[in-house]
């Protein structure tokens, strides 16, 4: 029972970063932009938040956790939105190929994260390992009273702010896409930009806003990882392939952020299952780590085979829109 509790908690902990990434990518893809730069953007978001908090804590005698918290979030949003802006400018204004731009952005972003993560202490004058305990503590603060409840408290109320924000963001985005006029317009842009354009929707503006917002949301996943998961420090390539898993989750969730919530916890569970399965040798553990990817491949095959209308990606996904080229 105790083991199961820890497993669920850890699975959720693994899932949150993926959920942020997937929510951001869904919003982006709904505008018809397949942003393969999300993994890089998540690195950029993570390191920017960490650097912001680091310079704040280093410069202040008695750093205030709450101020560090705000600075970290702002830096993350700014850096990841900047990543989204590079992507938008190249694909929307300069009409470059989306996959090529996305992959370059991932190369850039991962390098950006690892470079500053590895060199920040040297650039700041050799202070050794970076750690931002005060800010990280603020990110890790549990809900005061509710988390004391046995079992239920551990299961539901023992997480930091960003965990709840990830779920709220996913639900809000589902609501936005399905229930608002702007959401409808955005989906129209992703399905058929020419029709949307004829209906008087500013296609470029929708694409820009959706991509930049999506990138900002995804960046929070990186921040979650460095602050709440790692406790305010950086390890090179520590974030690993979670960004790609986020893109995979978009398919598992069939372009619905609310469905990505349980999907992300499932992915998180699969990601760490090898630790909890008894009787695995080192070699079989490695095979067990394949699970999230294999499950994604199976879902991919099944959805393509069933070919249901409502489960398909946005029709214009991956194509740039040229008004004069119809």
């Amino acid at each position: 029972m105790n083991l199961l509790m820890t497993f669920i908690q850890k699975a959720i902990g693994q899932g949150v970063a993926i959920l942020f990434g997937a929510t951001g990518e869904i919003v982006t893809e709904k505008s018809g932009n397949l942003n393969l730069g999300i993994p890089g953007i998540m690195y950029m978001g993570g390191i920017a938040g960490l650097m912001g908090a680091f310079f704040y804590e280093n410069g202040k005698e008695n750093p205030n956790g709450f101020v560090g918290f705000l600075i970290a979030i702002l830096c993350t949003l700014a850096a990841s939105a900047f990543g989204g802006l590079i992507y938008s400018f190249l694909t929307i204004t300069l009409r470059a190929n989306q996959n090529v731009v996305g992959l370059s952005l991932t190369t850039f972003g991962v390098g950006f994260g690892n470079f500053f993560g590895g060199s920040i202490s040297k650039l700041a004058g050799g202070v050794g390992q970076i750690s931002v305990q005060t800010t990280a503590a603020a990110f890790r603060a549990k809900i005061p009273v509710l988390s004391e409840i046995p079992v239920l408290g551990d299961l539901l109320f023992s997480y930091g702010f960003l965990t709840y924000l990830s779920v709220v963001a996913a639900i809000c985005m589902t609501w936005f896409l399905k229930r608002t006029r702007s959401g409808l317009n955005l989906r129209a842009v992703g399905e058929s930009p020419a029709t949307a354009d004829a209906a008087g929707i500013n296609v470029s503006r929708y694409k820009y806003i959706a991509t930049v917002t999506g990138a900002a949301i995804a960046g929070l996943g990186g921040l979650y990882f460095v602050m709440e998961y790692l406790g305010g420090t950086w390890s090179n390539n520590g974030f690993g392939d979670r960004g790609w898993l986020a893109i995979a989750l978009v398919i598992l969730a069939l372009w619905n952020p609310a469905r990505a919530i349980w999907g992300s916890f499932l992915f998180g569970g699969l990601y760490i299952l090898y630790i909890y399965l008894p009787g695995l040798s080192r070699a079989t553990q490695e095979l067990c780590k394949m699970l999230p990817y294999v499950v994604t491949i199976i879902v991919l095959i099944i959805t393509s085979k069933r070919n249901k209308q409502e489960n398909q990606p946005p029709a214009s996904l991956g194509n740039a829109y040229f008004r004069e080229e119809r």
Binding site: L90, L94, L103, T106, G111, I247, Y293, V294, S304
Partner: protein, 366 residues
């Protein structure tokens, strides 16, 4: 209709054609601009004289005989992968699984080096390595192609996921191959007898790499340009409906092309493992599968342009690694530099395809 029509400040029109010289001029301008920006970034971080930074890059890439050959070796590996990706991308099959195909080829190579290294003469071993690595990459390319052909499964994400499956297969094998025990790395394979290593050719240890990759480059150029299959690939890439109408068996073309693409990427794995690093790890591919996509795309699938683009990228990467280590910074600086270069190179294509026209101050109404 006397109401003044608001004309935007800048408007773009599509160019019909552009002279080769002008197109390359624009590309050259983009390269220069990217060098300036990349230089500024390095200067901002290291606070050094920019001239010195550029000299450091040149020194790092080709400063000594050994460094120059490392640059050549890395260029060849990147070029080989880009050559492998060319037919797939020409067919508009987004094979972003080159990483996995390289790793599978590398794993097959390492397996042969470890298990058959002492039993066979070196030439036979090398022949087996080429066959096995190409076969391993071929299988890894075949799987998504079959699903794409029959169920129209999204190949971008399928091949991407296969990368990570391949990575786990490598870590699985490392458990059995690790040397020394407990290190979780394979170490240099066959260091004593150099079994399964590429032999020196023309007095150079990377001679065989050069020969193999140049043959592949030339072969791919001829295959894409003059063979019937190459033409079929181009037609399928432009429009599957047209291809079907013309009587081309689209399923067969997709599967066959991905077998070629995966096979060459697998061969690149043997080039890296047997011809360069002599070891295997999850970072054997090291992101080159992704960079090669950009190389192939930027070169418009022209194998000779690929030589230039990959040489330029590797030159800057090796230089940046050297500059970074000189200033005690982390080697990931080279990824940032690569990223900046790519953004400019990708962005400049717009100016080749489109022409910007400034608003003219016209008094008379339309």
């Amino acid at each position: 209709m006397s109401k003044e029509v608001k004309e935007p400040l800048v408007r773009m029109t599509k160019r019909d054609t552009i002279g080769t010289a002008k197109a390359w001029g624009i590309r050259l301008a983009a390269v220069l601009l990217s060098l300036v920006v990349a230089g500024l970034v390095i200067v901002a971080i290291t606070k050094q004289n920019p001239i010195q930074v550029y000299l450091g890059i040149v020194d790092g890439a080709v400063g000594t005989n050994r460094r120059a050959w490392v640059t050549v070796r890395e260029t060849l590996a990147l070029l080989c992968i880009a050559i492998g990706l060319t037919p797939a991308f020409k067919m508009k099959f987004w094979n972003i699984g080159a990483e996995g195909q390289i790793l599978m080829g590398g794993t097959a190579t390492a397996a042969l080096m470890i298990y058959a290294g002492d039993a066979l003469p070196n030439w036979l071993l090398l022949v087996l390595i080429f066959i096995a690595s190409a076969a391993a990459g071929l299988i890894w390319g075949l799987i998504p192609a079959v699903f794409k052909a029959y169920f129209n499964t999204n190949e971008t994400l399928f091949t991407l996921m296969l990368n990570y499956v391949a990575m786990q297969i490598v870590t699985f094998c490392i458990v059995f191959w690790e040397n020394p025990a407990g290190s979780n790395t394979v170490g240099i394979i066959g260091a004593a007898g150099q079994k399964g290593w590429f032999p020196s050719l023309f007095g150079n240890i990377y001679g065989l790499n050069v020969v193999i990759v140049l043959i592949l480059t030339l072969g791919m150029y001829i295959y894409m340009k003059y063979s019937k299959q190459g033409y079929e690939i181009a037609v399928v890439g432009e429009s599957q409906n047209t291809a079907r109408y013309a009587g081309i068996n689209v399923k067969r073309v997709i599967i066959r092309t991905m077998m070629i693409s995966g096979g060459i990427c697998g061969l690149a794995g043997s080039l890296i493992v047997s011809g360069a690093s002599h070891t295997i790890s999850t970072s054997t591919a090291g992101g080159r599968g992704f960079t090669a996509i950009i190389v192939a795309w930027m070169s418009k699938f022209n194998p000779f342009a690929m030589i230039l683009v990959s040489a330029f990228l590797v030159f800057m990467q090796q230089g940046a690694i050297q500059v970074a280590s000189q200033f005690g910074l982390n080697e990931n600086a080279s990824d940032i530099i690569t990223g900046i270069l790519l953004f400019f190179l990708i962005g400049c294509e717009f100016f080749i395809n489109y022409k910007l026209e400034l608003r003219k101050n016209r008094k008379e109404g339309k």
